[in-house]
C-alpha cells in the first residue's frame, strides 16, 4: 500500500528497471566471450542434471582388467572409455559428469548461505550504523584475517567432512564480501530522497530496508554472486583435494585430482581431465559474471 500511494515514484522506478534490464541483456548478448561462457555453463549444468542417464558407465564401477586405460585417441585407448580409466578401472568421463553435480550444488548452496548472512549483516550494519556497525565491521575484519581455505579446512575437519558441512562452512567463511558491498551501498542509499520520503510517510525501518533499500542492491548482489560461485567451486575442489571434502561416497573433481597426483608419472589423464572440467566451469562462470557486471553497471 505504501508504494500504491506514491504512484509516480513507483512507476518511474518500474520503467527504469525494465530499461536497464533489456539493455543489460543486449549488452550481454553482443559479447562473444560471454556467449561462449554461457554455452559451456549450459553444457555443464545439463550434464550435472542428467548425469545418471548420460554418463556412459556407473562412476563407482571398478574393473581391474581395464585399469589405467588411456584416453581413446592415445595408443591403447578404448572407445567405450573416451577419457580413459583410473587406477581401479573406473570411467573418468562418468566420474567427471557425476562430479559436476557436487561442484555446482556445493557452489550454489554455499553462496546462498553467504548471501543470507552477508546481506542481512550488511543491511543492518549500514542502516543502523553506530555501535552495531562498529561491532559487525570488526567481525568482518576478523573473518578477513584468516586465509579462508585454512579456516574452512580446520572447521570441516573438526565438524566431520560431509556435503552439508562443506557447504555450510564455505558459506559461513565467505559472507564478508557481501557484508562490505551491501553496507557501502546502503550507506549511499540511506541518504537518497526516496528513502527520506518513505521515512517521512512513517514507514518503519524494517519495511524501508526490505522494500526500498534491498531491491536497489540486487544488481551488485547478483554480480558478486556469480563470481562467488566460481570461488566456492574452486574452494570445494581445494577441500576435496586436501582430503576433507564431501566424503568418499560421491566422486568429486578435487578428489579425482588428488588421486591423480599419485599416478602422475604413469597416467597423465587422471589429474588432467577433472582439472580441465574445473577450469572450464569456473572460467565460464567468470566470463558470464564479468559481462554481467559490465552490463549492469551503468557507468561502463
Amino acid at each position: 500500500m505504501a508504494v500504491g500511494s506514491l504512484p509516480s515514484l513507483a512507476y518511474a522506478d518500474e520503467v527504469a528497471r525494465a530499461g536497464t534490464g533489456s539493455r543489460a541483456w543486449r549488452k550481454l548478448a553482443r559479447n562473444p566471450a560471454a556467449l561462449i561462457g554461457a554455452l559451456i555453463l549450459a553444457v555443464v549444468i545439463g550434464g550435472a542434471v542428467t548425469a545418471p542417464w548420460i554418463a556412459p558407465h556407473d562412476p563407482a564401477k571398478q574393473s581391474l582388467i581395464r585399469r589405467f586405460t588411456p584416453p581413446v585417441w592415445a595408443p591403447g585407448g578404448h572407445a567405450s572409455y573416451p577419457l580413459g580409466t583410473d587406477q581401479v578401472g573406473r570411467d573418468i568421463l562418468s566420474r567427471i559428469i557425476h562430479g559436476a553435480r557436487i561442484s555446482l550444488m556445493v557452489g550454489v548452496l554455499a553462496v546462498i548461505v553467504s548471501v543470507l548472512v552477508g546481506v542481512t549483516l550488511g543491511l543492518v550494519s549500514g542502516f543502523v550504523g553506530g555501535r552495531v556497525d562498529t561491532v559487525l565491521m570488526t567481525i568482518v575484519d576478523i573473518t578477513w584475517s584468516f586465509p579462508q581455505i585454512l579456516l574452512a579446512l580446520a572447521f570441516v575437519a573438526a565438524l566431520g567432512p560431509s556435503l552439508v558441512t562443506v557447504t555450510l562452512v564455505l558459506g559461513l567463511t565467505g559472507w564478508e564480501r557481501y557484508a562490505r558491498v551491501v553496507r557501502a551501498e546502503v550507506l549511499a542509499l540511506r541518504e537518497k530522497d526516496f528513502v527520506e520520503a518513505a521515512r517521512a510517510m512513517g514507514i518503519g525501518a524494517p519495511r524501508i530496508l526490505l522494500r526500498h533499500v534491498l531491491p536497489n542492491t540486487f544488481s551488485s548482489i547478483v554480480v558478486l554472486s556469480t563470481l562467488q560461485i566460481a570461488q566456492a567451486i574452486l574452494q570445494e575442489a581445494a577441500l576435496s583435494f586436501l582430503g576433507v571434502g564431501s566424503g568418499r561416497t560421491h566422486p568429486t573433481w578435487g578428489q579425482m585430482i588428488a588421486l591423480g597426483r599419485d599416478f602422475v608419472s604413469v597416467a597423465w589423464w587422471l589429474p588432467t581431465f577433472p582439472g580441465l572440467a574445473i577450469l572450464a566451469t569456473v572460467l565460464a562462470i567468470n566470463l558470464v559474471g564479468d559481462r554481467l557486471r559490465d552490463a549492469l553497471d551503468p557507468r561502463v
Partner: protein
C-alpha cells in the same frame, strides 16, 4: 595522526582477540577433544585427561586461559609429535615465508611491466592477451596448475624434481605454481590502479608540458598508483597465504601449510590451532602495517 594510530591499535587488539576466539572454537567444534586424543581409552582415563587439559572449566575461563597461553606461544603439545605445537609451527615458518616472498617477487616482476603497459595502451594486443591470461589464471585451481607443471617439467622433460625443498631446483616449481595464482591477482590490481591514474589531470598536464613519456609514467603515474597497489595487495595477503598452503601440499614443501594440512588429517588440534593462529597473525600484522603506510603516504587522510 597519533589519534589514528591509537584507534588502529585498539582495533588491532580487538581483532587479535577475535582471531583467538575463532581459533579456540576449532577445537570445540570437534565435540569431545579427549575422544580424539585417546579413542580407545577407558572412561576413567579420559576423565583424568579432561581435568589436566582443563576441559571441565566453563568455556569463558578456558578461553581466557587459551588467550593467555597463546600470548606466550603456548598452544600445548602436539597430540602426534608430543612436542610443543608452537615450536613445530615456528620451525616451518621461514620456508612458508620464503615461498610466499619468492613467488610474490616473481609475480610482481611479471605484473608490474605488463600491467603498466596494458593500462597505457588500453585495449591493445598486450592488454588483451594479459586480460585473457588473468581470466584463465583466476579460473585454474592452484593445485591442478602445480600438477600440470609437474607433468611437464618433471615427468615429460625430467628437468625438475617432483617434490621437496632441499635444492634450488626443487624451489622452482612451487614458486612458479604459486606465482600463477598470485600474478593474475597483482596484474589486475596494477592495471586498474594505473587506469585510475593515467586519465587524471596532472598526468595530462605533465604530458602537455613536454615531459618525456617514460618520466610521465614513472614519476607521475606510477608514484600515485603505488598507493592503491600497496593497499589492495596487503588486503589480499590472506588469499596469498591460502595459495601457499595448497602449493606446499602439492609439492611436499616442509612449510606451515603442509604441517597444518597434515595435522588436520590426524586431528592434531594443538598444531592446527597454533598454525592457523600464526598465519592469521601474519595477515593481521600485514594489514595493520598497510593501514599505517596508507595514512603515512596519503596526506589527504593524515588530517582526519
Amino acid at each position: 595522526m597519533t589519534a589514528f594510530v591509537v584507534r588502529r591499535l585498539v582495533r588491532l587488539v580487538v581483532v587479535v582477540i577475535g582471531v583467538s576466539l575463532v581459533t579456540f572454537a576449532i577445537l570445540h567444534a570437534s565435540g569431545d577433544p579427549v575422544a580424539l586424543i585417546m579413542p580407545e581409552a577407558p572412561e576413567a582415563d579420559r576423565v583424568v585427561l579432561r581435568a589436566t587439559l582443563g576441559l571441565h572449566d566453563p568455556l569463558p575461563i578456558q578461553f581466557a586461559r587459551f588467550v593467555r597461553n597463546a600470548a606466550t606461544g603456548n598452544f600445548g603439545n602436539s597430540f602426534f609429535h608430543r612436542t610443543p605445537a608452537f615450536a613445530l609451527v615456528i620451525e616451518r615458518m621461514p620456508t612458508t615465508l620464503l615461498l610466499t616472498a619468492l613467488s610474490m617477487a616473481l609475480a610482481m616482476a611479471i605484473a608490474l611491466p605488463v600491467g603498466i603497459y596494458g593500462a597505457i595502451r588500453r585495449g591493445g594486443a598486450v592488454d588483451q592477451v594479459a586480460t585473457g591470461t588473468v581470466f584463465l589464471g583466476q579460473s585454474m585451481p592452484v593445485f591442478w596448475t602445480g600438477i600440470m607443471l609437474i607433468l611437464l617439467f618433471s615427468v615429460q622433460w625430467r628437468m625438475l624434481p617432483v617434490s621437496g625443498w632441499d635444492s634450488w631446483a626443487s624451489i622452482v616449481l612451487p614458486t612458479l605454481t604459486l606465482s600463477t595464482f598470485t600474478a593474475p591477482l597483482l596484474l589486475r590490481i596494477v592495471r586498474s590502479s594505473m587506469l585510475d591514474v593515467v586519465k587524471l589531470d596532472y598526468v595530462r598536464t605533465a604530458r602537455a608540458k613536454g615531459v618525456s613519456e617514460w618520466l610521465v609514467i614513472l614519476r607521475h603515474a606510477l608514484k600515485n598508483a603505488a598507493l592503491p597497489l600497496v593497499t589492495v595487495t596487503g588486503l589480499q595477503f590472506g588469499l596469498l597465504l591460502g595459495g601457499a598452503v595448497i602449493t606446499e601440499t602439492v609439492f611436499a614443501v616442509p612449510g606451515v601449510g603442509r604441517l597444518i594440512v597434515g595435522a588436520i588429517r590426524q586431528l592434531d588440534f594443538p598444531v592446527v590451532q597454533a598454525g592457523v593462529f600464526m598465519l592469521a597473525m601474519i595477515v593481521v600484522t600485514v594489514n595493520f602495517v598497510v593501514d599505517l603506510l596508507y595514512v603515512y603516504l596519503n596526506p589527504q587522510i593524515r588530517v582526519r
